[in-house]
């Protein structure tokens, strides 16, 4: 479509001046009459929404903060900054928790958009047990995890991938039909709980902190096949996973924020390449635990059948806490 088409000027006017009934009426007329222009209109809007994140992404690596020493989980568990006595949690959300989660879901994108204006982030890695799967090969426990520091879930194993991304071992997706699978499960999932309480002290009063989960995925099928949707999920909870009476349903009820990033692969690449996905979500102060879910499964959006498993892999799982700062790390002044 010709960019000199005067109809595009209407879109500029919508940005340059408050919408008026006349402008809306004029835009309606052109949108009604031309499906191609309707598509261009949606592309224009899509670009507007994607621009902040894309611009942020091309600015180069964000500066890391001075490292804050934290003990590795396998050595000792760090003391929570402000330990809360068992059973004395502030329950101000109460029955509103599911509703609040819905609100937070919407707010997460708003918070992310708002945070784009802050150019400096304090970034801190959150320890994940066996994040690179290099500790030992073998099957992971086929249970839904009830405590931190352990990968488990649907049938998965730690094994040498055909193309290593780092080290010699990676997570191998085997089947969606494990004990952790919900009825009619469409994916093979591995989970790990992570204790977030030691990081509350970094939040301060800043409402715009977020968590960023990244994971590398590989579809090693030599021939194109049924699409596989790889997904990195990040769920935040207030509930303690180790509490005996906590069912999976109750944990789902208590989700306070979530993030997700997915990629659909058809396989058949001459040289399969690892692809890194990054999911983000807001880090509200009531979130004490993160549940990481690394998934390979059916492309439910496209309605395709369950793919064959056996050549899908994941590796290099990382979780980062990002706290926006209005001060430059170098100068201490707002840039």
């Amino acid at each position: 479509m010709n960019r000199n088409d005067p109809r595009f000027d209407l879109l500029e006017k919508l940005r340059a001046e408050p919408a008026s009934p006349e402008l809306v009426s004029e835009l309606e007329a052109v949108l009604r009459s031309d499906p191609e222009f309707r598509r261009e209109y949606l592309r224009y809007i899509n670009l507007e929404f994607q621009a902040p994140a894309a611009l942020q992404s091309i600015q180069g690596p964000r500066p890391e903060a001075e490292p804050i020493p934290l003990p590795r989980l396998e050595q000792s568990t760090p003391e929570p900054a402000s330990p809360k006595p068992p059973g004395k949690r502030p329950g101000f959300l109460g029955q509103w928790r599911p509703l609040a989660a819905g609100i937070l879901l919407g707010m997460a994108s708003a918070s992310w958009a708002i945070s784009q204006r802050l150019p400096f982030w304090i970034v801190k890695s959150v320890p994940i047990q066996n994040a690179d799967f290099e500790k030992s090969a073998g099957m992971l426990p086929s249970v839904f995890p009830t405590g931190p520091g352990l990968w488990s879930g649907d049938p998965t194993e730690v094994a040498p991938p055909p193309i290593p991304v780092s080290g010699s071992l990676a997570l191998h997706f085997l089947s969606p039909a494990g004990p952790s699978a919900a009825p009619g499960a469409n994916s093979c999932d591995a989970y790990q709980w992570v204790d977030l309480r030691p990081f509350h002290s970094m939040l301060g009063t800043n409402p715009e902190a977020d968590l960023e989960l990244s994971a590398a995925f590989l579809d090693a099928r030599p021939q194109p096949g049924t699409p596989v949707r790889f997904t990195a999920y990040l769920f935040l909870f207030q509930a303690e996973p180790t509490s005996g009476e906590l069912s999976r349903q109750r944990l789902q009820q208590e989700t306070v924020a979530m993030g997700k990033k997915s990629w659909v692969s058809h396989g058949g690449q001459p040289v399969p390449e690892w692809k890194t996905l990054t999911a983000r979500c807001a880090f509200p102060p009531e979130a004490d635990w993160a549940l990481l879910q690394i998934s390979a499964g059916r492309d439910t959006k496209a309605g395709t059948p369950l793919p064959d498993f056996g050549q899908q892999w994941a590796d290099q799982i990382q979780l980062k806490l990002r706290v926006p700062s209005t001060s430059s790390p170098q100068t201490g002044k707002t840039p």
């Binding site: 809306v24 879901l105 009820q253």
Partner: protein
Amino acid sequence: MALPPPPEPTRPEHHAEFLRLYVEVQDSLRIYLASLLFGREETLEASQEVALALWKKFQPGMDSLSFRRWAFGVARMQVLAFRRDKARDRLTFSDDLTLLLGEAVEEHAPQLEAERGALERCLRKLPERQIQILNGFYLSKLKIEALAVQIGLSVAAIYKSLHRTRLQLMDCTRSVLALEELP
């Protein structure tokens, strides 16, 4: 501030199911809402209202397609209510066009999603001056007047530059995606 009464029932056991379905459609819904509401702030506000409305009315057992269609219908009604509440009914498209735009978002959702990846590559090709203006507008959230002072251009020139850059990026993302589709 007192909270309004909670939706009945809260159905906690269905919350994860709802979240998964909602996350799948939220980007498309946001584009749809933006196409009907024009302003970024209004769109964010309406997105939150739609998320709440969907959760309150959610019935479990829907597949992705059913949920998507239902969500778009709810979003359409919420936009009408949103406009009415703000006494801005006259800034609303007709029902026909509202439906057409919803269909177009659903039809083009995969392409719109793909354009997000292409956008980064296209931004890297822009001259520094254009990136400066985009950064000021989208990242620093400067008002056009402040941006004009900072860059040293007139307000009208900034609007023109932003508009031209957007169209340039649309052309670029289209080309990038077309190249990727080549065998």
